[in-house]
């Protein structure tokens, strides 16, 4: 017996099913042979991108708050959400508009939220989904709690939690993975690795070769997927969710994508990254990639594209108009949900919401 032996080994698999030209790199999963399924993914990504452009335009003209664009990252959100069952629960970060839309959050609700109106978090559709988490990574633990609830009630459901590469530096995320591993929780983490956390590049965030391997330390499998390949994203997430619902425990998917936009509308990325880097990454972007694949399979053409763009623009414009026409709530609404019922002991505080008496302007 040698004095030293290998105590553990690990490998991290990387999967890409469609190359940048949209050509299949190998056999595709079953759903990818269903034209309707592929077109649905494509439509969802185009809708996400159209919403994104409109949100930025509204922000630039002072009609929306600071907004986090998902340009170039649509396949991560849409692919992951498309793998979910309706009664799974999504616990998203703030760049997953595509996942929220897929789950049934409306464009109107998204506009309201980013316009600074909390009614946008009261989703009419996915009632159990969490609102986006602005405090980076803090929601990973909520996903562990949701998954534990499913497990305790013996329900065949899973939670899906998405966060960025920057978030993986936070203790919350390490703690969530640890809970998920030690209790075999039905939970899939998707790391939306877009290469940047505002100005901090991925390499300055962690010395680990991959972020997926953070799963290994928690005793759960981790893998990398091309996050600009919506087919690979959906396939990997579907497999992980199926395993989770069947009692097989948690899984980490590191989706490799790229933030083509500034961090938010308040950011100027030219301060810290070169235009050349960004232009080069356009060649990989997910929407054109799936379109080329659809065209190659004879499922899409110029006319279909024009019709879709027309339809999507109209849908988004209509939602934006409805948002702009929605009056703000009355001031006392800010106290409506502080508690289940506003405490009687604090009743006098509500005088704050009375309209200012006439002639007292300061």
């Amino acid at each position: 017996m040698p004095a030293t032996r290998i105590a553990a080994r690990f490998e991290v698999r990387y999967t890409r099913l469609l190359d940048a030209e949209g050509k299949a790199a190998g056999p595709l999963p079953g759903f990818a042979r269903d034209p309707a399924a592929l077109v649905a993914l494509y439509r969802a990504m185009v809708l996400t991108r159209t919403f994104d452009a409109k949100a930025i335009a509204l922000q630039r003209t002072g009609r929306l708050g600071t907004y986090a664009s998902s340009l170039g990252q649509e396949a991560v959100a849409v692919g992951a959400a498309a793998a979910m069952a309706p009664d799974d629960v999504l616990v998203p970060s703030f760049r997953e508009h595509g996942a929220q839309l897929w789950r049934g959050v409306t464009l109107h609700e998204l506009f309201l939220f980013w316009g600074g109106d909390e009614r946008g978090n009261d989703f009419a559709g996915p009632r159990e989904d969490f609102p986006i988490s602005v405090p980076v990574g803090s929601h990973a633990l909520h996903a562990a709690g949701v998954a534990l609830a499913f497990k305790l009630r013996h329900e065949a459901r899973a939670a899906l939690c998405i966060f960025g590469d920057g978030a993986t530096s936070k203790g919350d995320v390490a703690e969530a993975m640890n809970f998920a591993g030690v209790w075999t929780l039905p939970l899939v983490f998707v790391i939306n690795n877009n290469g940047w956390a505002i100005s901090v590049p991925r390499a300055a965030q962690s010395a680990a070769q991959t972020l997926a391997q953070k799963a290994v330390a928690a005793g759960i499998p981790g893998e990398q997927v091309d996050g600009n390949d919506v087919i690979a994203m959906r396939a990997a997430t579907e497999a992980a969710l199926a395993k989770a619902r069947a009692g097989g425990g948690a899984h980490v998917i590191e989706a490799l994508t790229y933030r083509l936009s500034d961090h938010t509308t308040a950011d100027d990325a030219s301060r810290y990254r070169s235009d050349a880097e960004v232009s080069q990454r356009w060649a990989e972007e997910p929407v054109a990639r799936l379109r080329r694949h659809l065209e190659g399979a004879g499922l899409w053409d110029k006319a279909a594209e024009e019709a879709l763009l027309h339809e999507t623009a109209a849908t988004v414009e209509e939602a934006a108009s409805a948002y702009l026409a929605t009056p703000a709530q009355a001031p006392d609404s800010m106290a409506a949900f502080t508690y289940a019922a506003w405490p009687a002991a604090l009743a006098a505080q509500r005088a704050w919401f009375a309209p200012a008496p006439a002639g007292t302007e300061g």
């Binding site: 909390e118 530096s169 203790g171 810290y272 703000a328 001031p331 505080q349 007292t360």
Partner: protein, 326 residues
């Protein structure tokens, strides 16, 4: 002398402190090449290099804890938390370690660190970006809590905070970052900590404010002056420890006060000021102490923010009511 905004004064004070003292380090998220999301650390990386200006991984708890270790080792870390809404994970490190390392070791180890962060609302920011956590920190023995309200005071108070031998929480009112310019001399002169600034003498009533509420109180005083009410304004500036002497001296002259607080009313810093006046100044009061602060609600999303924030109009109205008391 240059006319600077508050955020430029913060930048100037940081540069000055780093130039004067090689132990001063700046660390935080995006403080390096990006110069901080508000540009408070702009140019520092280029000038002082990556060993003194550290872009950290995204981890607030980590930043606070790292600063404790650096400070115990003789550095003077000035750590930035990108927004005060993200300081909550740091509480473990601040409460259990930074604030009491000196106590626990009987002075063998200490924690001369500054944790700076933008705080307060009024910038129509997305949720979690408009918090006023000052009272929470002011409740922790061993900390100083400082909130500058003008470019010149930001410069002098930040220098004082960095030179102070104990941990200082330095809350920069986001809404004032670019609100006004003021002549600021880069003379390296610190302002005193633990001292309130009487900004405007008043004969009839004293408006007591800090941070983003100070300009509102000054505007209210202007309005009131036009109506024949002579209102004085105090900027508390250091919230822990509180300079009650200045407050009591002013209130003794006017006999009336309005304490203006941006944070929700219950358990706020205003209650501490009110208690101090009640304990030692009650017999000089001509009217009840008035606290003006929003109800105990979560800071609302931007569309309702103006209905939440105290403003000059509300301050003036509260002052008139206090003046009308008989």
């Amino acid at each position: 002398m240059a006319a600077l905004t508050l955020v430029q004064s913060v930048n100037l004070a940081l540069a000055r402190a780093m130039a004067d003292d090689p132990r001063v380090l700046v660390l935080g998220e995006d403080v390096g090449i990006d110069g901080g999301v508000f540009r408070a650390t702009d140019g520092l990386l280029a000038r002082f290099g990556p060993e003194r200006v550290l872009d950290t991984p995204l981890a607030e708890l980590g930043i606070a804890g790292l600063a404790v270790g650096l400070a115990a080792q003789g550095f003077r870390p000035v750590a930035e938390i990108q927004f005060s809404g993200f300081v909550y994970p740091c509480i473990d490190q601040i409460m259990n370690h930074a604030a009491r390392l000196r106590t626990r070791t009987h002075g063998r180890l200490s924690c001369p660190m500054v944790l700076r962060m933008p705080a307060g609302g009024g910038i129509r920011a997305v949720e979690h970006h408009s918090e006023c956590p000052e009272a929470m920190f002011a409740h922790m023995p061993g900390l100083r809590v400082v909130v500058p309200a003008s470019p010149a005071r930001a410069y002098g108070l930040l220098l004082a905070a960095i030179r102070d031998p104990d941990p200082v929480i330095f809350l920069e009112p986001t809404r004032l970052y670019r609100a006004v310019r003021e002549e600021v001399a880069d003379d390296g002169a610190a302002l005193p900590l633990d001292r309130a600034f009487s900004l405007r003498p008043g004969a009839d009533i004293t408006l007591i404010a800090w941070g983003g509420m100070v300009p509102e109180a000054l505007a209210a005083a202007e309005t009131l002056a036009a109506e024949g009410i002579d209102a004085g304004v105090i900027d508390l500036a250091t919230l822990k420890p509180l300079d009650m002497e200045t407050v009591l001296a002013e209130v003794a002259r006017t006999g009336r006060c309005v304490i203006v607080q941006e944070a929700p009313v219950s358990g706020g810093l205003g209650a501490e000021v009110a208690a101090g006046i009640a304990e030692r100044g009650l017999d000089q009061l001509l009217a009840p102490i008035r606290r003006l602060a929003p109800p105990d609600v979560v800071v609302p999303a931007p569309r309702l923010e103006t209905a939440y924030l105290p403003d000059a109009a509300r301050i003036a109205a509260a002052a008139r009511e206090t003046m009308a008391y008989t």
